[in-house]
Amino acid sequence: MSAITHHVPDAILASYAAGSLPQAFAVAVASHVSLCEHCRAALEAHQAVGGVILEDTEFVAVSAKLKDSILAQLDAPFTPEPVYERNGIFPGPVMEVMQRHAPRWKKLGMGVRQDILSADAHGSVRLLYIPPGQAVPDHSHNGLEMTLVLQGSFSDETGRFGVGDLEIADETVDHTPVADPGTACICLAATDARLRFNALVPRLLQPMFRI
C-alpha cells in the first residue's frame, strides 16, 4: 500500500470528521482511510481540532441524577457493535455495506459488471468490475463521484489510479476511465446523485440497472 498518490481533499476529510459528509461518501472516505496512513493522520488532526472545540464549549450543567444513572449502568450487559474486518481486497467499511457477502455482480455489457451495495435519494455506493483494457461507459455526473480503486488500476483524462487511490470528480469532469492492462480493475464508486450516461444504449439501460 506504498503507492497511494491520490488522497482525500482536506475539506472532505474535515467534513467526514464532523459528520456532515453524505453517507455514500463517508463509506468511500472511511475505506480510503483504512488503506492510507497519511489520511488517517490527517483525519486525527481534524479530530484534535474538534476535541479542542469540545473542550472550549460553554458548559451546560447536567441534571443531578445523570451521573448516578450512568454509574449504575457501568456493569450492565451490552451488545458490542459488530466489527467489520478487511476481507481480501475489501476494506472493513465496504464489508459493512456488503454485510460480509461476496459481491453479487450484474453484467453491464462489454465485460463490465457492477454490484449496487446501496442506493437511495441521497446517493449510491456500488462496486464496479472492469476487465483489463476496458472502458467504463462514458459518463458525467449530476453531483460528485468518488471512486476508490480496490484492485488493479485505471487511467482517465486526469491521471492513473492504483489500489487505494481515490478519484473525486464533479459535474464538470466528463471522463472515461479505462482499466489498465493486466488485472481487472475493481472499484468502489460513491455518488450523491444518479449517474448520467452519454452513450444512448447505457442511457436506455439506466432505469433498469439504476446506474
Binding site: D10, G19, L21, E44, G50, G51, F59
Partner: protein, 211 residues
C-alpha cells in the same frame, strides 16, 4: 524537561526494547500528563470508577453544551451524553494516547452518536489499527501530542470571532464539505503528514491568518 524527554525518545528508538531503567523514568514522566489523560488511562487499564467519575465531571457539561449547540434539545442532549459516557467506559481499550488526545477521542464518539441518531444508520468508520504487541508507552510522544493540542487551543483562541464561529460550525457538522472549502478561509489542504506535524502546520496557518 523537554530536552530530557527528547533524549529519552531517541534512546528508546535506538533500543527496540526499552531497558528497565528507562521504564522507571517513563513512569516519572507520566505525572506530567494532563488530568484527562491520567483519568482515561486509569479507566482503560484499571477500570477505575473514581477516574471515570472525574472524566464525567469534566466532560459531561461540555458535551451537553456542545450537543445543544449542534441543535439538540436539553433532554435529547442528556441522552446523548449518557450514551457517549457509556461508550467511553465500554470502548476504553480503543483509546490510544499516542494518537489522540482524550478530547479528540471523545469528540469523535460524540459525533458518531449524533450521526447514528440523525441518520438512523451507522457512520462508516475506518478499520481499527492493528496494534503492535504493547511495548512501554512512549511518554514523550504522548506529552508531545498534549503540547500540540494546547498550542492548537491557543491558536484557535486568537482567531477573530467570525473566523472562530466558522471553524466551530465546521466541526459541529453544520457546514457541508463545499462550505468548508470555501468558507473557513483555512488552507486545510496543506495538513499532511503525521498528526503532530499536521497540528503544527494548522497552528502556523492559524497564526498566519491572525497576523
Amino acid at each position: 524537561m523537554l530536552t530530557q524527554t527528547l533524549d529519552r525518545q531517541n534512546l528508546a528508538k535506538s533500543n527496540k526494547v526499552t531497558p528497565r531503567r528507562e521504564r522507571e523514568s517513563v513512569s516519572q514522566v507520566k505525572t506530567e500528563y494532563s488530568n484527562e489523560t491520567i483519568w482515561m488511562l486509569a479507566v482503560r487499564d484499571n477500570r477505575d470508577r473514581g477516574a471515570f467519575s472525574a472524566l464525567f465531571d469534566h466532560f459531561a457539561p461540555r458535551l451537553k453544551g456542545f450537543i445543544i449547540r449542534g441543535g439538540a434539545s436539553p433532554q435529547q442532549a442528556e441522552e446523548i451524553v449518557q450514551d457517549v459516557m457509556l461508550t467511553i467506559w465500554r470502548k476504553a481499550d480503543m483509546f490510544d494516547p499516542h494518537r489522540a488526545q482524550v478530547s479528540a477521542w471523545i469528540y469523535q464518539i460524540a459525533r458518531n452518536r449524533r450521526i447514528d441518531i440523525a441518520r438512523k444508520e451507522n457512520r462508516p468508520m475506518p478499520e481499527a489499527l492493528k496494534e503492535e504487541p504493547e511495548l512501554e508507552p512512549d511518554a514523550s510522544q504522548i506529552l508531545g501530542l498534549e503540547q500540540e493540542a494546547t498550542q492548537l487551543k491557543q491558536a484557535l483562541a486568537t482567531l477573530k470571532p467570525e473566523q472562530r464561529e466558522v471553524i466551530e460550525k465546521a466541526y459541529l457538522g453544520e457546514l457541508t464539505h463545499q462550505e468548508i472549502s470555501t468558507q473557513t478561509g483555512l488552507p486545510l489542504g496543506t495538513i499532511k503528514s503525521r498528526i503532530r506535524l499536521g497540528l503544527q502546520r494548522l497552528r502556523h496557518e492559524l497564526k498566519d491568518l491572525t497576523q
